[in-house]
Subunit: 216 residues, 2 copies
């Protein structure tokens, strides 16, 4: 019943098949979404394309949207882990930067699909909404880590100011990837992240010259 988290090893045949079906659904759905648009694609069509019954689709994904964000949980998990296991010398930003870097290396391989996906999300209102929800979750995670670093309460203002700015930086990076190599490579990921970090560290420094954060 329990997956021991070791990937690729010792999955029963059953699990393998489930995994294959899941991948097939994702691949089929994405193709259709890109061809006909998200709203222009029905669950029934995805099911047909993936050779399963419509009902089965919902056994794999709770909603049509979930297919588009199929990797979000992993992504969040990896960020959480990276932050939780950061060295004592690392603050939350260092961990964030390292994480983005690692991600960037992976993503470069399949960047054309990634871009198509981001474009799809961008011009499908339902998906943009969901995407912002995902960003909000990341912001929350960062805020918590920053709160630790600063030694203040989880819900106090400063960590949220900081993490909001950091997420804005991440957003800019995503946008940057979308438009990359259409013209010149434009700014590098590091460049943007650096600027964001300078900004929020400067902001924190300014606050430190004031009375400390009161209240939750």
């Amino acid at each position: 019943m329990y997956d021991r988290g070791v990937p690729g090893v010792s999955l029963g045949l059953r699990e393998r098949k489930k995994q294959r079906t899941r991948d097939l659904i994702i691949r089929t759905a994405m193709e259709l979404f890109l061809a006909r648009g998200f709203d222009g694609t029905t669950v029934a069509e995805i099911a047909e394309g993936a050779d399963i019954s419509p009902r089965t689709f919902f056994g794999y994904f709770a909603s049509k949207e979930d297919v588009v964000f199929h990797d979000h949980d992993e992504l969040v998990a990896s960020l959480v882990e990276r932050i939780r296991e950061r060295a004592a010398s690392e603050d939350a930003f260092d961990a964030l930067r390292a994480w983005v870097h690692a991600l960037d290396a992976e993503a470069a391989l399949e960047s054309s699909q990634q871009r198509a996906r981001r474009r799809l999300i961008r011009d499908t209102p339902a998906l943009s909404a969901r995407d912002r929800g995902n960003a909000a979750r990341i912001e929350e995670i960062l805020a918590e880590a920053v709160a630790q670093d600063l030694g203040v309460a989880r819900h106090s203002l400063r960590p949220h100011l900081v993490s909001a700015a950091a997420v804005a930086g991440l957003d800019a990076i995503a946008r940057l990837r979308d438009t990359a190599d259409e013209d010149q490579p434009s700014r590098s990921v590091d460049d943007v992240l650096d600027e964001a970090l300078v900004f929020l560290q400067g902001g924190l420094a300014a606050l430190r010259r004031l009375p400390p954060d009161r209240e939750a």
Copy 2:
């Protein structure tokens, strides 16, 4: 056909009735939402309570969600106007602060309903998502104004860092209102806004000590 924007005056009887129906729908819907939850209330029930046909409901609102955010358009319009008409001596933050203040004064009157509404939004996923979308729109507006102030391009990074932090401050203020007067009044609105402003101005100052913003 055209509403000349003068409120309360010279609206034909037809428009008046429409307005009354609209208000009735809002009032009815909100009561039901608060009593049975957003998901636990059907459009059919709202229609029945407001004495209209279900079909007519959709003549007034494009979706069930829209009822909850019925005032969002006005709100955005008022912010846009306030920012557009700010004095030459005012920057975007000054305008924002003035706007929040004005809003705060109004809202104080019906704060109990406001709080109920915010609670509803907070614990209904669909509504939270929509709310974040609204916040994103405000962030966009602010970013544009800040870009003007800074004399940089609309889509460059800094305005977005700044406006993201500002919106985080607004968020904190909203949260603060939600929990207000359950215990002591806690921090004042100004207090939070000030801190946010110190933060982002400190951030900007730090950036100014670096090469200027390259690229869009």
